[in-house]
């Protein structure tokens, strides 16, 4: 890929409102800072090439190149990405009950990876009040403190950058699809640094359909008369969207559970999410999400040998229990993933963000024209 600098990043991503605030550009230099879900560039930097541009998941993402690097094949547009196996799973008996979103599989896998030394630190997302915050942890207890979904764009990867500065060399990252894309770019050393060491040894992806804008959410909740006090005292315990047909988000605070209709939540979805083609975090070793129809369980998409080995070890050691997942569920999952992929690619094409030539300038995403055609031509729920 061709690498540009912060000026182009500003033009292509921040000024187009495509920045999702993943934190990939935060912490490598003094120019980018994250605050309440937004990444700001404090001062102008005149370098023509920078890691800020090179690592950004919203510009010049070459899907063929990433797929070749991580899965040794060209990008084929499969709705669920490249995978070896899909299983149902939940945390095993060895794992104490914590405030998990579903089955606690992510916490269990990361805890094990830390304990076995597969990873030397984990890049996670914690929460301060309602605001998601990056956190670099090195032991299982800290992992459990970060459990449960945040539903908001978070600068998680600034903790990865922080870990690199601290000298960690085998980090595990729990990443949303956009974050996982940035991690994949980082691992390919796009700026071609000499003495580059891949700082990541494990990526656990999270299913994601969209994220909410932190500041809008904060202001929305502060305006809810029965929540204002809890928001002020920053006492948020969990957020959840129960399966249809309820159409609500449930926010649990120290004092109560509040249901907010999704139609009020949806306007706060980040603009950038509409352009994201990835629902299952395809650039990971294992992707984890809800097991629809089976509360308290997760769906595991195992993508790499390393991921498969970790899951097997987890089962063996009682960190995880797994079971087969019905074909119908996989089909349903793939259908949802395809919808996101197709709709976003159509939007990207409309905006002129895909496979642009030299004249039109830089692209957000590049992939083969055939695959692009295949994805955008598919009918809804074609899988």
């Amino acid at each position: 890929m061709q690498v540009f600098g912060s000026k182009e990043l500003l033009e292509d991503v921040i000024n187009r409102d495509l920045c999702i605030g993943c934190g990939a550009c935060v912490g490598r230099c003094p120019y980018f800072k994250s605050y309440k879900g937004k990444t700001a560039m404090l001062f102008e930097c005149d370098l023509s090439e920078g890691r800020c541009f090179a690592h950004c998941p919203k510009v010049e993402v070459d899907l063929d190149s990433l797929s070749t690097t991580f899965f040794q094949k060209a990008y084929d547009g499969n709705p669920l990405g490249s995978y070896m196996e899909i299983l149902g799973a939940k945390a095993g008996d060895k794992i104490a009950k914590a405030e998990f979103q579903n089955g606690g599989s992510v916490s269990a896998l990361i805890a094990l990876a830390l304990e076995t030394g597969l990873i030397d630190a984990a890049v996670l997302t914690d929460r301060e009040g309602i605001i998601p915050t990056p956190r670099l942890v090195t032991n299982a207890q800290e992992v459990f403190e970060c459990a449960s979904s945040k539903y908001m764009a978070a600068p998680t990867l600034s903790a990865l950058n922080n870990g690199i500065e601290q000298g960690f060399e085998r980090m595990g990252v729990v990443a949303t699809p956009c974050q996982a894309t940035a991690v994949a770019k980082i691992r390919t050393n796009p700026v071609k640094r000499a003495n580059f060491i891949d700082p990541v040894n494990l990526v656990i992806g999270l299913f994601c359909t969209w994220a909410l804008d932190t500041r809008q959410m904060l202001s929305f909740l502060s305006d809810q008369p029965d929540m204002a006090d809890d928001i002020r005292s920053a006492d948020i315990r969990s957020m959840d969207i129960p399966p249809p047909p309820e159409e609500v988000m449930v926010i649990e605070t120290g004092t109560k559970k509040t249901k907010i209709p999704l139609k009020e939540i949806r306007p706060m979805i980040c603009e950038s999410c509409q352009f994201c083609p990835d629902m299952t975090a395809e650039w990971s070793d294992i992707s984890v999400g809800a097991f629809e129809g089976k509360p308290g369980w997760n769906t595991l998409v195992i993508r790499t040998k390393k991921g498969k080995n970790l899951v097997e070890e987890a089962v063996e050691k009682g960190y995880l229990q797994v079971e087969k997942i019905p074909e119908e569920s996989i089909k349903h999952l793939a259908g949802a993933a395809l919808n996101k992929k197709r709709n976003s690619f159509i939007k990207n094409v409309e905006k002129g963000l895909v496979n642009t030539g030299e004249k039109e300038g830089r692209s957000a995403i590049r992939l083969s024209d055939d695959v692009l055609k295949k994805i955008t031509a598919q009918k809804e729920n074609a899988v």
């Binding site: 800072k33 605050y35 937004k38 700001a40 404090l42 001062f43 370098l47 920078g50 890691r51 500041r215």
Partner: protein, 652 residues
């Protein structure tokens, strides 16, 4: 500067214009002087303060120009000659009192010296104080050189007592701040004051209501007093008709008459010399420029049909002369006028001999090239190729650089397009890259918070950007206090940041009411800004701007609050203050092995963006260096370096 008082009568001294003005006041037996610091006026009060004990006079830096004029007026009412000094726009601040003072009249001689700044060399305006003379109807004098600066001020006191009203003596930067020979007069000779002979000040107020010298000093009954004021002006005109400050040089029947005043008379003289045109052009230099003496002007207008009026800023003299010419039409005939209104003279900026010479050559048909074209071209090339760009910048160790670094960062991170309403002081430089171009409005003293108070009430119309104002400590007392009170009372949503560097930094570190020192350097009770803010009902936080992280976090927190006025005092003494000057708190150094220079990861943040003059870029080694001569040792750059390559070591 004891020679201000000790220089003997008849001796010739090289005096700065402002010293000449101060000496003139001393020779006149002036007893009370008050002013507010402002370039180019500040040295007048400073010099008087230095000799105040010896001269037995009272001198103060007042909280603002209006108060200064009120303080000086009280002395006049009590029978003491008084002087009031300010820069051009200071007169705007004082103007409400000025109007009423002109109406009530004065008793002992009172002189107002405004120092204008044509070309805005040290101002954010090209204001004009002369029109206040016409607006409030008091006499105006304009010295044309250094000797006149002294002599006119001295005579202004006499005139003031002749007409029992205020007299204005207007200086400009090139007179106030340049130096020339001045022959001294006698300081002891003037004792024409009632109070001085009695050796006591006394305010007599129980006389007849309409008796200006013994009754109440008020501007009512207005039409009666206004009528009296006009009588006084007529008397002034009589003096002006024969004043030695108005001079004519040139032939009896010149081709062209130039009418001018102030330093423009020097420029014109030089221009005429350059053009070798002294035998063709007459030069009427007026020292008494309002009201104009009609007979004197008529006499000179009759000499020729072409008249050029040369002056800076507004066409003040031009309009006065044209008004007279219209009235004198039947006697003097129709004249052709050149000046600002027909663009013979530029309508803005400073004048100089070249500009005037080119105006004159156009009228006289002389072929002249003030600066040869080849020279201009070559000079331009050389400047472009060789002269380094030197931005106006904050001093090394200046707390404002650190303050704006944090405020700007907080506003950018906050990401809601918040902005800063600026104010007048060194920190006005934050409109430039030195202050990270942080100021988005900049007007008069105290206006930052006033404008912010307005922005802070626009929430109901959808303005949801964070509103920040900044103001200095001296500016706080000068005029930001009413704005703060207004904002608090109306629950305006804003963050006011007081950049407290413990002095009036921009004009030379004069004291203000917040300090425990007065103009003479004596102990004075300090008014506590924090207590004033608290009493006004605003939340107040105090921070050290050198602690960048804490300052940024504090600002971010205050920006979140949308419930009225929060005040943040960023307190750190000016790097040039007597306490700090020459003393380094830290010895700074750069670890060349850690500095990544212009590589991705820093790209010279310290020398390219922070840009303290104490940091330099080593082009060969490609690392930053500390310039030990310039570095003030504040230690702030150690906190901005992303790689901790800059080290600070406490100086024992």
């Amino acid at each position: 500067m004891t020679r201000l008082i000790e220089a003997e009568e008849g001796s010739r001294q090289l005096f700065m214009g402002n010293e000449a003005i101060a000496r003139g006041a001393l020779e006149a037996g002036m007893k009370v002087a008050a002013g507010y610091p402002g370039t180019p006026s500040s040295e007048i009060i400073e010099n008087l303060a230095e000799v105040s004990e010896k001269a037995g006079i009272y001198v103060e830096w007042s909280a603002n120009e209006k108060v200064a004029m009120e303080v000086a007026a009280a002395a006049s009412f009590a029978g003491l000659r008084s002087l009031c000094v300010m820069k051009q726009n200071g007169v705007n601040v004082a103007s409400d009192f000025l109007l009423h003072l002109a109406g009530s009249g004065t008793r002992a001689g009172m002189v107002l010296v405004p120092c204008d700044d044509p070309g805005a060399l040290s101002s954010v305006n090209e204001g004009e104080s002369r029109h206040f003379a016409r607006l409030v109807e008091v006499p105006l004098l304009e010295p044309g050189d250094f000797q006149e600066a002294k002599d006119m001020v001295k005579w202004a006191f006499t005139l003031s007592e002749e007409i029992r009203n205020l007299v204005m003596v207007r200086s400009v930067t090139r007179l106030s701040h340049a130096s020339g020979n001045v022959i001294m007069g006698n300081i002891a000779e003037s004792k024409n004051l009632e109070a001085e002979t009695k050796n006591s000040a006394f305010f007599k107020h129980d006389g007849f209501i309409l008796d200006q010298m013994e009754g109440a000093v008020i501007s009512a009954p207005v039409t009666y007093k206004h009528g009296q004021q006009h009588e006084k002006l007529k008397k002034a005109i009589e003096f002006f008709e024969t004043s030695p400050f108005n001079t004519y040089t040139g032939p009896e029947n010149p081709e062209l008459l130039v009418i001018t005043s102030s330093v423009c008379s020097l420029y014109t003289n030089e221009a005429l010399q350059m053009l070798n045109a002294k035998d063709r052009v007459g030069l009427l230099k007026l020292g008494t420029t309002w009201p104009l003496p009609p007979k004197l002007v008529a006499k000179h207008l009759k000499m020729t049909d072409k008249i050029l009026i040369v002056e800076e800023v507004i066409p003040f003299l031009e309009e006065s002369v044209k008004t007279l010419a219209a009235e004198l039409g039947p006697e003097i005939g129709v004249k052709t006028f050149f000046g600002k209104r027909d663009n013979t003279i530029p309508s803005t900026g400073e004048l100089n001999p070249d500009i005037i010479a080119s105006a004159l050559s156009g009228i006289l048909g002389i072929d002249m090239e003030p600066v040869p074209e080849a020279y201009t071209k070559r000079a331009g090339e050389l400047a472009f190729l060789n002269a380094p760009v030197r931005d106006l910048t904050f001093c090394p160790g200046c707390p404002h650089r650190a303050s704006f670094w944090s405020i700007k960062n907080a506003l950018t991170m906050d990401n809601r397009e918040g902005f800063i309403c600026g104010d007048i002081g060194c920190y006005s430089l934050a409109m430039l890259p030195s202050g990270f171009s942080a100021l988005k409005t900049l007007h008069s003293m105290g206006s930052g918070t006033g404008v912010a108070s307005g922005f802070g009430k626009l929430g109901q119309f959808g303005l949801n950007q964070p509103v920040v104002s900044v103001c200095g400590d001296s500016t706080f007392f000068h005029s930001a206090m009413p704005a703060l009170v207004n904002a608090v009372h109306h629950r305006s949503n804003l963050t006011m940041i007081i950049l407290d560097n413990s002095g009036t930094g921009m004009t030379g570190f004069q004291p203000h009411p917040g300090l425990n020192e007065d103009a003479l350097g004596k102990d004075a009770p300090a008014v506590d800004i924090e207590a004033v803010v608290r009493a006004a009902g605003a939340n107040v936080t105090v921070c050290d701007p050198f602690d960048l992280a804490e300052t940024r976090e504090t600002v971010l927190k205050l920006l979140e609050d949308n419930n009225g006025v929060n005040v943040l005092i960023l307190r750190q003494i000016c790097a040039l203050s007597p306490e700090k000057k020459g003393k380094k708190q830290f010895e700074m150094s750069v670890d060349e092995n850690i500095c990544v220079g212009e590589n991705c990861g820093c790209n010279r943040l310290c020398t390219r963006i922070f840009s303290c003059p104490g940091l330099t870029w080593d082009r060969e080694k490609k690392v930053s260096r500390i310039d030990e001569v310039i570095c003030a040792g504040c230690g702030v750059c150690a906190s901005i370096c992303p790689l901790q390559a800059i080290n600070k070591k406490e100086v024992a």
